[in-house]
């Protein structure tokens, strides 16, 4: 069964990263998981997942625990293809034949775009443990279009602040102004994806990321320029993670559990936190392609992904960690501590999903981002 999810990429929610010493992976961002493809014996489903979803690919391709167990239970083999951003995934899908892909892991913020292209099949909420998904994570505004549900939340986390405790006190990390405070010049890395970074600045300015308009961009630009002036680099997950792990920077704007949780065993000085002012939440959703010829197998895969066991494995995948969408995920206490499980109600209340701009505003945001980076 082919499954399409976001892979490791330059843009999009946490993309997988490699840690300093080897293959420890990086975070997956909300926009990262793409298509995945899986296969039963002779009838494998394919999954398309975002680059962030490189975790999924590693697990699928490498036969890691997450997909191995599904295959053992169902005799269905999953083939995964990861991608860098939703735009890349859409281009990939346009070049594929209908039915080539079965499952799509995509940023929640882009589900509507995909539905408008008639790519996703309607899902029956009764097939999934919706009651076990925290209300804030369900995001019906993103996953339900025209009264029909097309995707289920799969994993989430925060594009918040990742920091080195030995260099930056925790109270400074919680203070969003640290990012543009000249005292930290050269010690800041910015995650290279304009949606969460612009969204975070909007939150700092007291705006709701979902309600941004072109009129908000000049004020956002001013803060972005100040943050950029403080930054040693603007990098993808791997690069910003490497900069933090090697001591080049003390803080990563847009970083989160995805960028440090997998490293904490080796680097206990690395931590993450949501700023006091609030922050941005990445969310990935999973759905079934409308043209899938293996809908039954695809739905079974979604059910496995949403199951407590599947969620625990997905949340702590070697590629990058993130919060499971299912609150009943069977995580160990140590894992919950790393994910700041007890603080989740507070974090969920203070965080916003990615902005979901119109095409025109999205273009303006991208131009703003390129312009600030370039100068």
């Amino acid at each position: 069964m082919p499954f399409c999810g976001r892979g490791v990429g330059r843009r999009g929610p946490p993309r997988p990263a490699t840690a300093r010493h080897g293959t420890r992976a990086a975070p997956l961002r909300a926009t990262d998981v793409g298509p995945v493809s899986a296969t039963t014996s002779g009838n494998a489903p394919k999954v398309c997942a975002p680059a962030g979803a490189r975790a999924a690919r590693a697990e699928a391709g490498g036969g890691a625990a997450f997909l191995k167990e599904f295959t053992a239970r169902t005799k269905i083999k999953v083939n995964v293809k990861d991608y860098e951003g939703t735009g890349t995934a859409l281009a990939l899908l346009e070049q594929s034949r209908p039915g080539d892909w079965d499952v799509f892991v995509v940023d929640s913020t882009d589900v509507r775009r995909v539905v408008e292209r008639k790519l996703l099949a309607e899902l029956d909420p009764k097939d999934f443990p919706m009651a076990d998904i925290p209300e804030a994570v369900r995001l019906p505004d993103y996953h339900v279009v025209g009264g029909r549900m097309y995707a289920v939340p799969e994993k989430f986390g925060y594009n918040a602040i990742a920091f080195d405790k030995s260099k930056l006190p925790a109270d400074k990390a919680r203070d969003i102004t640290t990012l543009w405070n000249p005292a930290w010049k050269g010690k800041v890395a910015i995650y290279d994806y304009y949606l969460p970074v612009i969204g975070q600045i909007a939150v700092a300015l007291g705006r709701k990321p979902q309600s941004l308009t072109a009129a908000d961009l000049p004020a956002i630009r001013e803060k972005l320029v100040a943050m950029r002036a403080n930054a040693a680099l603007v990098g993808d997950v791997t690069t910003s993670q490497t900069a933090l792990a090697t001591g080049q920077v003390a803080v990563v704007a847009g970083g989160g559990e995805y960028s440090v949780a997998g490293l904490q065993a080796e680097k206990p000085n690395l931590d993450w936190v949501l700023p006091d002012v609030g922050g941005i939440r990445w969310q990935q959703a999973i759905g079934v392609f409308a043209a899938s010829k293996k809908r039954k197998a695809a739905t079974a895969f979604l059910q496995y992904v949403l199951s407590p066991d599947g969620q625990a494995k997905l949340a702590t995948s070697s590629c990058y960690w993130g919060m499971p969408a299912n609150a009943r995920a069977t995580l160990a206490d140590r894992q919950k501590k790393t994910l700041r499980w007890d603080e989740q109600p507070k974090f969920l209340a203070r965080s916003h999903p990615y902005p979901s701009p119109s095409e025109a505003l999205d273009k303006a945001m991208q131009d703003l981002w390129a312009d600030v980076l370039q100068k």
């Binding site: 951003g85 690069t239 900069a243 390129a370």
Partner: protein, 302 residues
């Protein structure tokens, strides 16, 4: 009369045979050239034509408008970040090309003229050893070498030459270093190939005629090795200006190069027409470099 007639008939027969031969040769030439021509059409002309065609389309919201227009090129000219990316790409590429050739030439010259022929292959293999590792791995390795706690900074600190680590990574210098490390190997191979093809008797003749070692190098060796220099420089230019990985990893986005801006159009918004227009700009730059070097090479050969 009959003799002249016979001669005329013979002439016509000979002419016909010649024509048939010419047609056969032409047919054989066509058959021999066909694979290469088809290859070029399939893997260069068609893709390049498709890119040019797409660059004339437009993305309006989620809709692709296929009515040809020059809007994307107009946007390119009007947008600072696009124009700056071309300038930054040229700046990095020309710097990398110059440094790579300057560093590769002495290395190639030493291998070609100061190492015994039997050992030259070993030296060449050692020179290209870094090619054996992945491009991405090599870039990340440089990131660690240039980090505050990396080899370079630790050495400088230990020698007392600096008091605190220098910010070497995530900079233009880091990008150029990563590129040059790669392209020196490439240029070494092309320059070496040119140097070993030079007839040693030419240098001896120059010496016999009273040329000093410097004069022999400047007036004989260097001009005759220029095809290798130009080939290395061109390959460096083409690969460097289109590379995305090295500036992305080592440059820290301190400045965006053209390939990075192209990818930015695709990653999230899937603006393939704008990406195609920027790719055409890239193609024009590469073509200009080729034309410049091709003219120069032709002149040298003649």
């Amino acid at each position: 009369m009959s003799a002249s007639r016979a001669a005329a008939v013979d002439g016509i027969a000979a002419w016909s045979a010649e024509q048939r031969g010419a047609r056969r040769d032409a047919g054989r030439g066509l058959a021999l050239a066909a694979p290469a021509a088809l290859w070029t059409i399939a893997f260069f002309l068609l893709p390049a034509g498709t890119i040019v065609l797409w660059s004339l389309f437009r993305l309006e919201g989620p809709e692709l408008l296929t009515e040809p227009s020059l809007d994307n090129y107009r946007r390119f000219l009007e947008t600072d970040s696009f124009r700056l990316s071309v300038w930054h790409s040229l700046e990095v590429t020309l710097l990398v090309t110059a440094l790579s050739v300057l560093l590769a030439y002495p290395l190639a010259w030493v291998i070609a003229s100061r190492i015994a022929p039997a050992r030259q292959r070993l030296w060449l293999m050692l020179a290209v050893l870094p090619f054996w590792t992945s491009y991405v791995v090599r870039s990340y390795a440089w990131l660690l070498v240039l980090a505050p706690a990396g080899v370079v900074n630790r050495t400088l600190l230990a020698l007392g030459m600096i008091d605190e680590p220098l910010a070497l990574s995530f900079s233009l210098g880091a990008t150029v270093t990563g590129f040059v490390h790669f392209f020196v190997m490439l240029c070494t191979l092309t320059i070496y190939a040119s140097l070993v093809r030079i007839d040693p008797r030419l240098r001896l003749a120059a010496a016999d005629l009273g040329a000093s070692a410097r004069q022999t190098f400047v007036r004989v060796t260097l001009p005759l090795s220029m095809p290798g220099v130009a080939a290395g420089a061109f390959l460096t230019f083409v690969i460097c200006i289109g590379d995305y990985v090295t500036p992305q990893i080592l440059g820290g986005n301190t400045r965006l190069l053209l390939p990075q801006v192209i990818l930015l159009q695709i990653n999230r918004r899937a603006d393939l027409p704008m990406a195609a227009a920027l790719s055409v700009v890239l193609l024009v730059l590469v073509t200009a470099a080729y034309l410049a070097l091709a003219r120069w090479l032709t002149a040298r050969r003649s």
